[in-house]
């Protein structure tokens, strides 16, 4: 081939490539995972695959650090500067949908029929967001501790009762081998409190808000069940089982260092616990009377209300829901894949895998946090109430005050559209 032909060929190829590139409409996307190399790698792979799989759309990613993400989205919404695709923490989604930041997804719902319930972001009867994974909390301990304290190993079918749980705490304390019986993770402020501890309230029969109407917390947060929960919660600290205020270093490494007999922790910390002790076991949540409960719903993808290309945005989200990507995320982050078929493709969650128990826990016990725009306020009120009770505040007065605060917020916001 002559030089002229090479040049002509290159020109034609470049022109063709250019016209394909020009034909692709750009979809902007915001994601909360800046600084997380693993997540970035998987997400970038999905975007590259999507951009190369069709000629209509081209996704451009902008990552934010997680701690700054929600504030950035709210500021972006105020300034009218939201992207086409954004990700949203599951329990926050109803607030963003209600506030007009998001629009319903238009994806083929048959594609999410086999998804765990937690990753499906429903609000007002419509699907607004969908997650590729879920997260779960378990009671982490060692088989040798259970044996030494002569404790029954609880199962999903037969979790510990309140008496058994309290007995385990007392036995751990009486053994004198641990600084504290239980690591609750009180060092982790913020969403950890409602995510990890409101299921314990729900297991007593209480809740952050009355889910039948979502218009009041009366009776749910200050009724008989909630009072029983509050008194029990306070007893964890007055009995010396757990710390009301905890050093962050103890939360990160205390269980591995043998300071605690039990740790109430998420599946993202499970691989570390397995590394610390080869007899680490993950016990299901106890049943305090109204069934064993754990939190559900993690980060999910959605489409911003301002997007001029909701069809393209939804196409990208639908593309990302393939099992191979769910498995990639789970392998990278340790989070629970949203489908059983994807779980089977992972090392940790396949049958017999070291974290497979978390998938079963999520299936059996997961309960999403209250699906209401008011949740963002309810979560903060609940966190403060729990911290106050842990530090000795009067249980009834604290729960009544929290109830009043939540009710006032619901009223101020016209019932949040319920």
């Amino acid at each position: 081939m002559t030089n002229a032909k090479w040049v002509a060929g290159a020109f034609v190829a470049a022109t063709a490539w250019g016209s394909v590139a020009a034909a692709q409409e750009t979809l902007t996307m915001w994601y909360h995972g800046a600084g997380n190399e693993g997540e970035a790698k998987v997400l970038n792979q999905i975007i590259t695959d999507f951009n190369g799989s069709q000629a209509d759309w081209k996704v451009e990613l902008q990552s934010f650090p997680q701690a700054a993400y929600n504030d950035s989205v709210v500021a972006g919404a105020l300034a009218g500067n939201l992207p086409d695709i954004l990700d949203v923490d599951g329990p926050v989604m109803p607030n963003w949908a209600w506030a007009g930041y998001m629009q319903p997804l238009t994806i083929d719902e048959s594609k999410i029929a086999n998804f765990l319930p937690g990753p499906k972001g429903m609000w007002d009867g419509k699907l607004y967001s969908i997650g590729l994974w879920d997260a779960a909390v378990s009671l982490v301990t060692r088989q040798s501790i259970l044996d030494e304290l002569k404790l029954r190993t609880p199962t999903l079918a037969e979790p510990w009762t309140l008496e058994e749980f309290n007995g385990a705490m007392e036995a751990a304390k009486a053994s004198g081998k641990f600084e504290y019986a239980l690591d609750l993770g009180t060092a982790w402020t913020g969403e950890w409190y409602p995510y990890a501890f409101s299921p314990l309230l729900q297991s007593f029969g209480g809740d952050l808000v009355d889910r039948s109407t979502y218009k009041t917390a009366e009776g749910a947060l200050n009724g008989e069940a909630a009072m029983a929960f509050g008194n029990w919660w306070q007893s964890l600290f007055t009995n010396g089982y757990a710390q009301a205020t905890q050093d962050g270093a103890d939360r990160d490494s205390g269980f591995g260092a043998g300071k605690y007999a039990f740790s109430w922790n998420g599946n993202w910390a499970a691989l570390g616990a397995l590394k610390a002790f080869d007899d680490t076991v993950f016990l299901p949540a106890p049943n305090f009377g109204a069934g064993a409960k754990i939190g559900a719903a993690s980060w999910q993808f959605g489409v911003s209300a301002k997007s001029a290309h909701p069809d393209g945005a939804s196409k990208f989200i639908e593309f990302a829901l393939q099992d191979k990507y769910l498995a990639d995320f789970a392998n990278t982050t340790g989070l629970i894949p949203a489908t059983a078929t994807a779980a089977a493709m992972t090392e940790n969650y396949k049958e017999g895998g070291p974290l497979a128990v978390y998938y079963s826990m999520t299936e059996a016990n997961a309960l999403v946090r209250p699906v209401t725009p008011g949740y963002v306020v309810q979560a903060k009120v609940f966190e403060k109430a729990l911290a106050d009770i842990a530090n000795g505040a009067d249980v009834a007065a604290t729960l009544d005050a929290a109830t009043d605060e939540i009710n006032a917020d619901i009223e101020k916001n016209g019932g949040y559209g319920h």
Binding site: W30, A34, G35, N36, E37, Q62, S63, F64, P65, Q66, A67, A68, D71, S72, A75, G76, L78, A79, G80, N81, G248, A249, D252, S253, A257, G266, W268, A269, G272
Partner: protein, 290 residues
């Protein structure tokens, strides 16, 4: 006991107290730098005892290399230094001229204008952040792309709102009030213009207030978090404090956090060292020392 003994004892006690206070201020910095060379597990184990301040155990640069892999640190430092340097420079120029006008020039409404500017000191930034965001998102700008609307995702949105502020103007106005009035009068009699007086008489005598204003402005700008969080969505314009959040994942890598903090502290220390010299030189060169 003789007077000399008493004097010696007092001196020893004084130095001991000063050393103790100096150590209290140094400990966090020492902890940060030493910890940046330790693996996470050792860092957490050492944090409860004196080893936290000692370069002992398994020391390496791993945290630094991992921190650089996690976030574009050089970019964040450049952004912060660039935004801070431009803002401090423009602020010193604008606020000193404003302070000059308020102090030396007679004009109608001067006192009222100064009172309004001082009143802005009691309004926290958080209170005006949202209106400012709405404004910034709509303002026009002429740049490389011609006329565009909205200042978001840019350097100028991080600079312009902070060039003038009540505190810096007040600092200059207060300082200028204490300068010998005879100097200004003499210059006026000699036929100097206001600009000449500002540039050739007042500013050469203003080293201390320039240094003070520069330090305060530098710290405020270098530590900016809320505003860039609201107006910058593109990574390319993010400053160091927003960048710090890259290191707070579910399982926090504390060694990397310490490495990042050590790195972003370097410009602050360099600025202080530079300004310390300028500060002393400015006092020595002015005619105001006693």
């Amino acid at each position: 006991m003789t007077t000399n003994d008493n004097h010696g004892l007092r001196l020893i006690v004084r130095y001991l107290v000063l050393i103790l206070i100096a150590l209290m201020f140094c400990f966090p910095l020492v902890f940060m730098i030493i910890s940046s060379f330790k693996p996470d597990q050792q860092l957490l184990l050492d944090s409860g005892n004196i080893r936290a301040f000692l370069p002992v155990g398994d020391l390496s640069f791993d945290n630094y290399s991992e921190a650089f892999a996690r976030a574009p640190i050089a970019l964040f430092i450049f952004n912060s230094v660039f935004v801070t340097a431009i803002t401090v420079t423009l602020s010193l120029l604008l606020c000193s001229t404003a302070g000059f006008a308020f102090t030396f020039m007679e004009w109608r409404g001067r006192k009222l204008a100064l009172s309004i500017i001082l009143a802005t000191l009691i309004v926290p930034f958080q209170a005006i952040a949202i209106p400012l965001l709405l404004l910034a998102s709509k303002l026009p700008w002429i740049g490389m792309d011609g006329l565009t609307w909205g200042w978001l995702n840019s350097y100028h949105v991080q600079i312009i709102p902070f060039i003038a502020d009540g505190l810096t103007i007040y600092l200059f106005a207060q300082y200028f009030k204490d300068l010998p009035g005879e100097l200004i009068e003499a210059a006026r009699v000699e036929g100097a213009s206001w600009w000449q007086i500002y540039r050739k008489v007042v500013m050469p005598l203003s080293g201390p207030v320039l240094a003070t204003a520069a330090i305060l402005k530098f710290l405020a700008m270098y530590n900016q978090y809320l505003w860039p969080l609201m107006v910058v969505q593109e990574e390319g314009y993010r400053p160091v404090m927003v960048g710090l959040q890259y290191f707070f994942q579910l399982n926090i890598a504390w060694g990397e956090v310490m490495a990042y903090l050590s790195l972003i502290t370097v410009p602050v220390l360099a600025f202080y060292l530079y300004l310390q010299k300028a500060f002393i030189a400015s006092i020595a060169s002015t005619g105001v020392k006693g």
